[in-house]
């Protein structure tokens, strides 16, 4: 029998896949041009924001471009800071606490500095305000990425490092082929979280009042805040839809393909749970092979140039490290002087505060602290049973995970007015309903972690608890709670940090043309920003940072140490 010749598809000049990809490229170029035009426009501190639906796509594009720019900055910062923290000898001891403090400073704490400085720098163009807005989104995104990159770098397997050394990889090759590749999975998941974190303060980042100035930038956030101020229900709904659309778009077009692509960086065989239609499409397109070829080129041939420039930067640094006694000490001394003068300036700023101001601050801190704790407790109360249930059934978690992910990425402040309106109608004031608002913003972190924790409980332990005829109470006390404790703790830590930050928008808001506020540290920060009262703002931001860092050090750290030693599932 003669076998048929194997069917070979004749190569076509252009495949539809390529057309689609080219279409995307054209759209991207158009978007870039539009955004650039916006950025270089003349500075109008209060540009007209239109609430008509036809402006919404453009606004969404503007917001998205800000988020993307902020992400690019976050990525760059992560690479430099994370790498230095992990690899420069001795740097970790200073850089790690600094990062810890930076991440505890609320977004609004950065606002006045960024805005005033940058608007001053570009007095006639929008670009200063745009950069300030991007930087504020950046402060909502960056920290967990940096932490993730740092811990990945610390965990690179020593055997692989030995291989890299034996292969005499250059610094650049080692960075691309070993460090970044190894860190990529963690970096990717944290990037997804970061994007969501950046959107959380989108409304604040695009529309804010600072002293006498009302700064607004055209975008989805300012659209939403205007819609809320004017209590335009249709516009609010449209804004929410646009936001959801943007999140869905980014998820499908960016994250899904990246996750699918990143499977090659994981050591285990994955069960192909998260396929991506776009990734399949891209991978089968001709453009991809060109891109991947250029990547290899970049990794190998980009090396001499990068190494050379690296050497140019690193040599003096290394030399100064080697001759620490001379230049190094001077550098340290100068930095110390800078920090010292900063501290003095800060103390001077605080001296403008009266005793009453301090008392207000402290009682506000107490109130917000209570709200934050209540929000975390309430969130745990519903997420633990639901999370355990979902985690026990892999099918459910597969179905529900994307939906929860969407809900978690959606910036909760955008639906705050609806919630507050409902609560007000029931006769509940902002003081109580802000707890619900904090809950809305932070419950997802706990839910995610509980699901992860409960799905990691080995089946044998469930079986033992059934065979031993554990009572319902016994099962929770002796199996479920101890087993999920470490991940629950991680969730609570993240949630609590988020809740402190969210109090800024939950305790103070513009609603139906009036200002609603309740006593609390977040309200103090918001109000001080709006009034341009920098004494109070500086003090409040400082108090919040100290409280968050102190709570982390005194409560969470010992608890997580205990969790890792006693309640870990891998004995």
């Amino acid at each position: 029998m003669i076998s048929e010749p194997p069917f070979v598809r004749p190569p076509r000049v252009v495949e539809w896949v390529d057309l689609v990809v080219f279409g995307l490229l054209a759209a991207l170029i158009y978007a870039l041009v539009t955004v650039a035009r916006e950025w270089s426009g003349p500075l109008q501190s209060v540009p007209i924001i239109h609430l008509e639906a036809r402006y919404l796509p453009l606004y969404t594009l503007f917001s998205l471009s800000r988020g993307v720019c902020a992400y690019a900055v976050s990525f760059g910062f992560t690479m430099v800071y994370g790498y230095a923290m992990a690899r420069v000898a001795g740097a970790e001891r200073v850089m790690l606490p600094v990062l810890d403090i930076l991440q505890s400073i609320p977004v609004l704490g950065f606002l006045p500095g960024f805005v005033l400085g940058l608007v001053h720098l570009f007095p006639h163009q929008n670009i200063g305000l745009e950069i300030a807005s991007v930087l504020m989104i950046f402060t909502g995104q960056v920290w967990n990425m940096t932490f993730s990159f740092y811990s990945s770098l610390k965990a690179v397997p020593p055997d692989l490092v030995a291989v890299a050394r034996l292969a005499r990889m250059s610094w650049w090759e080692r960075f691309v082929r070993l460090d970044i590749s190894f860190a990529s999975t963690g970096l990717l998941w944290n990037s997804m979280m970061s994007m969501a974190g950046g959107w959380f303060f989108l409304m604040v980042s695009e529309a804010f009042v600072l002293g006498e100035h009302d700064f607004r930038l055209p975008g989805l956030g300012s659209y939403m805040s205007l819609a809320i101020e004017r209590s335009d229900g249709t516009a609010q709904l449209l804004g929410v839809v646009a936001m959801l659309g943007m999140i869905l778009f980014v998820d499908q077009v960016v994250w899904r393909p990246l996750v699918a692509w990143s499977h090659k960086f994981t050591e285990q065989e994955t069960n192909g749970g998260s396929g991506s239609w776009l990734w399949e499409l891209i991978r089968s397109s001709r453009i991809w092979s060109a891109v991947s070829k250029s990547w290899i080129f970049f990794a190998e041939k980009g090396q001499p140039r990068a190494t050379a420039s690296m050497r140019r930067v690193a040599k003096p640094l290394l030399r100064s490290a080697a001759s620490f006694h001379l230049g190094g000490r001077m550098l340290v001394g100068l930095t110390g002087l800078g920090i010292l003068s900063g501290v003095i300036k800060y103390v001077q700023l605080l001296q403008g505060l009266t005793v009453e101001d301090w008392l207000d601050l402290l009682s506000g801190t107490g109130m917000t602290f209570l709200r934050v704790i209540m929000a975390v407790v309430l969130a745990s109360l519903w997420t633990i049973p639901v999370g355990v249930l979902i985690g026990r059934h892999p099918r459910w978690s597969r179905i529900l995970q994307p939906a929860i992910q969407m809900a978690a990425s959606f910036p909760a402040p955008m639906i705050f007015p609806v919630v507050v309106g409902g609560m007000l109608a029931m006769g509940v004031g902002l003081g109580t309903s802000s707890v619900v608002l904090l809950l809305l913003g932070t419950q997802w972190y706990i839910l995610f972690n509980v699901i992860a924790g409960s799905s990691a409980i080995p089946r044998e332990l469930w079986e033992v608890s059934r065979l031993a005829r554990f009572s319902w109470r016994n099962r929770w006390l002796n199996l479920i709670l101890p087993a999920i404790f470490p991940s629950l703790l991680t969730g609570c830590i993240t949630a609590m940090g988020g809740a402190w930050n969210a109090s800024i928008v939950a305790e103070y808001m513009k609603y139906h043309g009036q200002t609603l506020m309740t006593m609390g540290l977040g309200a103090t920060i918001s109000q001080a920003t709006e009034r341009g009262n920098f004494h109070v703002l500086g003090a409040a931001v400082g108090v919040m940072a100290v409280t968050v860092v102190g709570f982390n050090r005194l409560v969470w750290r010992p608890l997580s140490h205990r969790a890792q030693t006693r309640f870990t599932l891998d004995s």
């Binding site: 397997p157 055997d159 692989l160 030995a162 291989v163 050394r165 034996l166 292969a167 005499r168 990889m169 090759e173 082929r177 070993l178 590749s181 990529s184 090659k264 960086f265 994981t266 050591e267 285990q268 065989e269 190998e300 205990r562 030693t565 006693r566």
Partner: protein, 433 residues
């Protein structure tokens, strides 16, 4: 013979230890690797054999002494060596082909030369057809073939292997051992000599032309033995078996020298500062059970009865000897009357006997004395581990500590709380017999 390929001259190597000081891993090692030989370094785990290998390659820097390659002192990585790792150390995100070519970019080959080289080694180790696969798609044996191909790709004069087959199942490692020898004996092979680290005596005898036996704490060379058997070797050949037995005896003599004086009856105050072997008490009791069933045995005969590698077995025997359950005259393991008595007792009597026995050992005595002196009847773990680190600088204090805790718990000597990290006294001290 000419100049040796490699000469290791009086090499010592220390790492910073947990207790702040330096822990000496290698002590005054001198060794020569000649041309055309396969040298296997044998030894118990923790004897520094992997560290020695890494020092030879240049991944670690000796604290003392020097390594010469063809008469030249070696600085940094030795370009004529390549390393095969125990756990493969493949880049999960690179294909087989890319993994193999990882070491080639520094050799100054052009594109064509590189891909030709890669193709050639991939074929040589039997990986043809898997070029585009990622490591996670491969079985353990195939993964190690990639590791081997990566090492061979740089055409090393000295191929170094760090327990290359111990992460593989029995059949796969058998196959790979044969293939490595086949590659070595091939005329076209650029590999001049092989230096391998292993803990398996059989593997060493099967592959090596010379066997180096190392001892632990700190790592020193105890003995060197030539293996003149011709390749390919047959594991059932009488000469092969005889050599394995010879090696067993050699290691036993090294560990249990005949002329050694038996431990004197320790009296209080003159207690020797002595550590305990890092093994579980139940394995020592298991040894007694075997001796009871099989009668007294030669040490190497024992290996047929237990599923332990020799170095591990030796530790168990030492533990039993320390408890005076067995004696080891001339490489024989004989049960003592104390051992027989212990074995025939019930669990509570056993505990009582052990309680008395362990009190005489330094590591337990020191903790009991600390407990007696402490007003709170508690002693912090850190205090004990720093005491251990002081007296046993070559042991890992935490591992020793864990063994001490396990033994003490069995004998109900004192208690230990893992959450509070303290030793504390039992409320009830079992009455001595």
């Amino acid at each position: 013979m000419g100049t040796p390929l490699l000469e290791i001259r009086n090499v010592s190597l220390s790492f910073p230890g947990a207790a702040g000081g330096m822990v000496e891993i290698l002590h005054d090692i001198s060794l020569e690797i000649k041309e055309h030989e396969v040298v296997a370094i044998l030894g118990p785990s923790g004897c520094g054999k992997s560290t020695l290998l890494r020092a030879i390659i240049g991944l670690e820097q000796p604290t003392k002494g020097q390594i010469f390659y063809r008469g030249q002192p070696q600085i940094g990585l030795n370009p004529s060596t390549a390393l095969v790792f125990q756990n493969f150390a493949l880049f999960p995100w690179l294909t087989v082909q890319e993994n193999v070519s990882v070491g080639l970019s520094c050799l100054g080959l052009d594109e064509a030369g590189r891909s030709e080289r890669v193709e050639q080694v991939i074929a040589a180790v039997g990986l043809a057809g898997s070029e585009e696969a990622y490591p996670k798609e491969l079985s353990g044996g195939m993964k190690q073939r990639v590791g081997l191909a990566r090492a061979l790709a740089v055409q090393p004069e000295i191929l170094c292997m760090d327990e290359p087959f111990s992460a593989l199942d029995v059949l796969t490692s058998e196959t790979l051992r044969n293939e490595v020898i086949e590659i070595y004996t091939r005329k076209t092979s650029p590999v001049n000599s092989i230096l391998m680290v292993t803990h398996s005596i059989d593997e060493g005898v099967f592959m090596a032309t010379r066997l180096v036996v190392m001892g632990a704490h700190p790592g020193i060379i105890r003995a060197v033995l030539d293996n003149p058997l011709p390749y390919p070797r047959d594991e059932h050949h009488p000469d092969f078996i005889a050599l394995i037995q010879k090696l067993h005896t050699l290691i036993t003599q090294v560990e249990f020298p005949v002329e050694r004086v038996p431990p004197a009856v320790p009296s209080v105050g003159l207690m020797p500062v002595q550590s305990i072997p890092i093994v579980s008490l139940s394995s020592a009791i298991g040894l007694l059970e075997i001796l009871e069933n099989e009668g007294d045995l030669e040490l190497f005969e024992l290996t047929n009865h237990v599923d332990l590698e020799l170095s591990q077995l030796l530790l168990v025997v030492k533990a039993a000897e320390l408890l005076r359950w067995v004696s080891t005259p001339g490489g024989r393991v004989e049960m003592t009357s104390a051992g027989r008595q212990f074995l025939s007792s019930d669990i509570n009597t056993r505990k009582r006997q052990l309680n008395v026995l362990l009190r005489r050992l330094y590591v337990f005595d020191v903790i009991i004395r600390m407990l007696n002196q402490s007003p709170s009847k508690e002693v912090q773990e850190g205090v004990v581990s720093s005491q251990f680190a002081l007296h046993f600088p070559h042991e890992r204090p935490l591992r020793l500590l864990r063994t001490v805790v396990a033994w003490a718990r069995y004998a109900e000597l004192f208690q230990y709380s893992a959450t509070r990290k303290v030793f504390y006294k039992l409320q009830q001290i079992p009455s001595p017999p």
